[in-house]
Symmetry: C2
Subunit: 264 residues, 2 copies
DNA sequence: GCAAACAATGAATCTAGTTCACAAGACTGT
DNA sequence: ACAGTCTTGTGAACTAGATTCATTGTTTGC
């Protein structure tokens, strides 16, 4: 009795988890199809052939669902970073590869940045349930931790001096640069009159500049486009062989792939 | 007849513009009091003792109003940058002062970053009218232009080599770093377990690192906290004498000053 | 086989943003 | 001064879409 009880309870829980996946996948599809703007709870339920009420058994609100969606993306993001951490290369190359991972991640999840920007906004964040917020932070935690870990390793290996900073503090610099760059790229019009051709190559170059600024050895020459391309290609081959196809050449804004927009 | 006609039309226009200010100020107050989440169009109208319909004569939608509010902030932001551009100091110091200006601006407008984050989100951005979007971009334009201008000057003065980059491209690096840092600081919980003590001092240090990475002379030693503090103090005195009071010591997150939040 | 517990449902409710038919006031020409 | 016209302001009514909850169906335990 007790055993079968536990068995059925487990099965039930599994089914519920599966249904949650179903909802999340449907929501992601809808966001990719029509944009965040047009996401409707009733459509999500419809697409999964469940009643709205059922959807609300899983998610306390629309915001809750959006935060959950972001959390899923962050888990994939962390997965890519984890690969980099295990890559057998110099700490400098690994840190640079973190930037490449970021780039690949955004290309695979074109909706992510808009979504994250929205989900982390006060308005949405506070309307989500405490549990979802915690989940998101938990999914986010490794992202910072992995970066800080590489920093620590670099110090141990003598590639880098911290100079009174904590590894976390140093990591925020790299993080800000990438995060801010994504945000700029995705803020329509803001970069328009800057006529940036290949935004993500530029991001990588800035990353190299910042790493140089930190004195992270071996220093790189960010002006050497050939070396930069070769490094990116190598990273794609060694670390992200299965996930990055058209990587080195691709520097176009991911905007086109994201959601439909008003006339340019 | 024609003269008085023009006179009354001008007066009318002025009055309309004043009323728009009234609405925007009320909206800003409400956002500071209750947070972005609770902003209601009817409350804005109430506070100004006008009918909702009148409010809608000015703003096509709630999003429209929020974008307009952000635009106002950006104008103040650009104003601070303009002062820096006119400061009589080395290009390196001026570029660093841009970061300080950013810091001061955020302290004076604690709601700005949340607001901007929200307003630039696809969801809100696309729901605003084309005119408001253009206005925002126009208000934003000088911000990038001033930075690019300082870069150009630095090249002309021999303080910096561009190495195949455009001034705009280089500017994006600095911009991303600051923008990203603000976003990180304002994303509740994200920086929590990083235990960052004085976020904006850290931002300034990262800025110095990145400038060093660009090879922008004279190179600075970001580990020299004393020199950094002195520089910040000098900038506050020479450039922002009237607007920055408790500047050099203040590094606390502006979160507290912003909107009320759920239990920490 | 039946009652209690649990899960799913979707019509009804509710909230705020938005509209628009009408009223009040301002201007014009006689 | 006055009737007509045009502009501006109003707020009750409308609406979309998120959220709820009384009802109905399904499983579990005895």
């Amino acid at each position: 009795m007790a055993a079968s009880d536990m068995g059925t309870r487990e099965r039930r829980q599994r089914q519920v988890a599966e249904r949650e996946q179903l909802f999340l996948n449907a929501a992601r599809e809808l966001v990719r199809e029509d944009g965040l703007l047009k996401l409707q709870m009733s459509r999500v339920a419809d697409r999964c052939e469940y009643a709205v009420g059922t959807l609300y058994l899983h998610f306390a609100s629309k915001e809750d669902l959006l935060v959950a969606l972001t959390t899923q993306n962050l888990r994939e993001h962390a997965g890519l970073f984890r690969r980099v951490a295990q890559w057998n290369a110099s700490t400098r190359d690994r840190m640079f590869a973190i930037g490449v991972a970021d780039m690949i991640f955004v290309r695979r999840n074109p909706e992510h940045f808009r979504l994250a920007q929205y989900a982390l906004c006060e308005v949405v964040w506070r309307a989500a349930s405490a549990r979802r917020r915690e989940d998101l932070l938990a999914a986010n935690q490794p992202i910072g931790a992995i970066v800080a870990g590489i920093v620590e390793e670099a110090v141990a290996a003598g590639d880098l001096e911290l100079q009174r900073q904590t590894p976390q503090e140093l990591a925020t610099g790299l993080w800000s640069l990438c995060f801010g760059f994504h945000n700029l790229v995705h803020a329509e019009g803001v970069l328009e009159d800057f006529s940036i051709r290949e935004p993500y190559v530029l991001m990588c170059r800035h990353l190299q500049h910042l790493l140089n600024g930190f004195g992270w050895r071996p220093l790189a020459d960010p002006a050497d486009k050939r070396a930069l391309d070769a490094l990116i290609k190598r990273i794609c081959r060694d670390v992200f062989n299965d996930v990055c196809h058209a990587a080195p050449a691709a520097g176009a804004a991911p905007r086109a792939a994201a959601t439909p927009r008003t006339a340019p």
